[in-house]
Amino acid sequence: MSILGVEAQILEEVDADQQRAQSNTVAVPDQVRLHRRRSGRAVAGVAGGVADHLGVDVLWVRIAFALLASLGGAGVLAYGLLWIFAPQQPDDARSISTRERQQAYGLIALGAGLTVGAGTLSGVVSGWVAGGIGVALVGAAVVWREADQSQRRRAKGALLGAGGRPALFRVLTGATLVITGIVLFLISSIGLNQVQFTLLAVLAALIGVGVLTVPWWLKLVRDLGEERRARIRTEERAEIAAHLHDSVLQTLALIQKQAEAPREVLRLARGQERQLRSWLYGPSGYGRAVDGLAHGTLSDAVARAAGEVEDTFAIKVSHVVVGDCELDERLVAVVMAAREAMVNAAKHAGVAEVSVYAEVEPETVTVFVRDRGNGFDPDTVPDDRHGLADSIRGRMERNGGEIRLRTAPGDGTEVQLNMPRAKVTT
């Protein structure tokens, strides 16, 4: 074997390994599927595939097919169907000994003889008809085998070259045999008048075309599925790449530019970390749960509000939510009020961190927004500052909730929001 040949073989083996690995990881169901043998086959590798699947010697399978052929051609029919519906193995390096090959051909001859013999003996079909069908079947076998071969060549790349003229010759031979078989079958169907004969001929021609093109339309269906899977994978990869580019990479670039401003770097890093996390694990993100239960819950809304304030004011808002429930109008009001309280803390408290705690109880929802900052005297708030008065208190009281404020100059501020929950209508 030349160096090139050795290389080619190594390459092939690597390919086969990769394909095996792929079929082991990606397509788990494929392990339990029946695959036809690609090499070491007499006709189409069906018997070998069945043998591999059942874990018996291939000789017994071939004998079984040959014997089954005597039952009105059941063996032939089974073989043909398996040929059509069992895909070829990706690749296997198996050699077939001359003796085994002779045995196989002998058994094929035996099966064919048994089929014809049984058919004629039982008088179901006359010899001519059986002969016609037999010739057509052999032709079909030749054509299908050629299709298998061409598929195999594609799998091996350009190593063997295209099928070329011999392949074309074989396909034409097969087609001729099929047509001959059909003609024989028609001629032997005696006692037909003109019209019936023409109809039958047309029908037979259509059947012939169908038989001949089986490999092609099967391949079409398989290729379509394969292509669709590949497209989904590619799209997914593109989506991930685009997302990372728009978010993480941009932020990293910004961080490098802003290296002199630690506060800005912190803000960018915090915001990006949160976004990436919600994209990976969040309810509407990349790893979203299939059921939409987690969508539109109080904990989501609180997290969102905290995140917005974090981004806008470059401070840390750590939030904890205990229990959870679906959002309704009242709870949206609570979240908006809480957000306003966070904004106030961020603006006026002069701290780097605000704590938010929300608890869902059967009767009420309570939210605390707390900072350890400047604090203030509620009585001396200038009239032009409406944040607390309007946004928070108004929002809560309109919806039947209440607000408690604990603050004193130099003592930090804690806003407590209580909202009775709407009765659950079942």
Binding site: V320, S355, Y357
Partner: protein, 224 residues
């Protein structure tokens, strides 16, 4: 909280995290920020960590929750028998309740998020070394959730372990609201020592209670 004094031996800390960058960062922070802490070793895999902890016998192990080959919980399982005196403090970027609770149940004495400031981390290390539990607000929230009376919760087999007392619940709520021990003590009119006792008791219950099946726990957060 114990007042730190200069006369005491520095706390010997061992870092376990599969990201070398993070280890280097924590090491630099802890070494520069305080003399009370000395980083004596670090490891990036479960095997290295178990070997290093067995060999160096540190006071405190800072343990990443997420690592290949079983994560922090696995390090705990393998190290607890040989070195029962070593204290573990879990560090994580994870928001997943079941991960955090799993590490606590495997024996960690506290949990802080990786975004914690260096000062806070140093304080937490000294506190677990003194035998306290360290509950970040997030962990307090997880534990409250875990002990909630939600429909479908596992039946209470041992009231001593499976229920939080009202006082413990109050302490946890204040922790989740971001209160320090001193502030909690003032709020509830109890001593700081009593707050510590409550927190330790909550930690013990979290580690020993069979109230909830952790595997199921995160998936059915209380939607009441």
């Amino acid at each position: 909280m114990t007042e730190e004094t200069q006369s005491r031996q520095p706390v010997r800390v061992f870092l376990v995290d599969d990201h070398s960058m993070f280890r280097a960062g924590v090491r630099a922070e802890l070494d520069t920020i305080t003399d009370d802490i000395e980083v004596v070793g670090e490891a990036g895999t479960v095997g290295e960590a178990v070997a290093g902890i067995g060999h160096l016998k540190p006071d405190v192990v800072l343990l990443d929750v997420h690592m290949p080959d079983g994560g922090g919980a696995e390090v705990l399982r393998q190290s607890r028998k040989a070195t029962p005196d070593v204290v573990f403090l879990a560090l994580s970027v994870s928001d997943a309740a079941e991960d955090v609770i799993a590490v606590i149940r495997a024996g960690a004495r506290g949990y802080v998020t990786k975004t914690i400031s260096s000062q806070e981390l140093a304080k937490a290390v000294v506190r677990v070394a003194d035998g306290d539990a360290v509950f970040s607000p997030r962990l307090a929230g997880f534990v409250l959730d875990a002990f909630a009376d939600r429909p479908g919760a596992a039946p209470i087999s041992d009231p001593e372990l499976d229920l939080l007392t009202p006082r413990e619940r109050d302490v946890l709520r204040l922790l989740a609201r971001g209160y320090a021990y001193k502030e909690i003590a003032a709020e509830l009119f109890i001593s700081v020592k009593t707050v510590e006792t409550h927190v330790s008791s909550v930690l013990r219950k979290t580690q020993l209670s069979n109230r909830y099946e952790l595997s199921r726990w995160a998936s059915d957060r209380r939607l009441v």
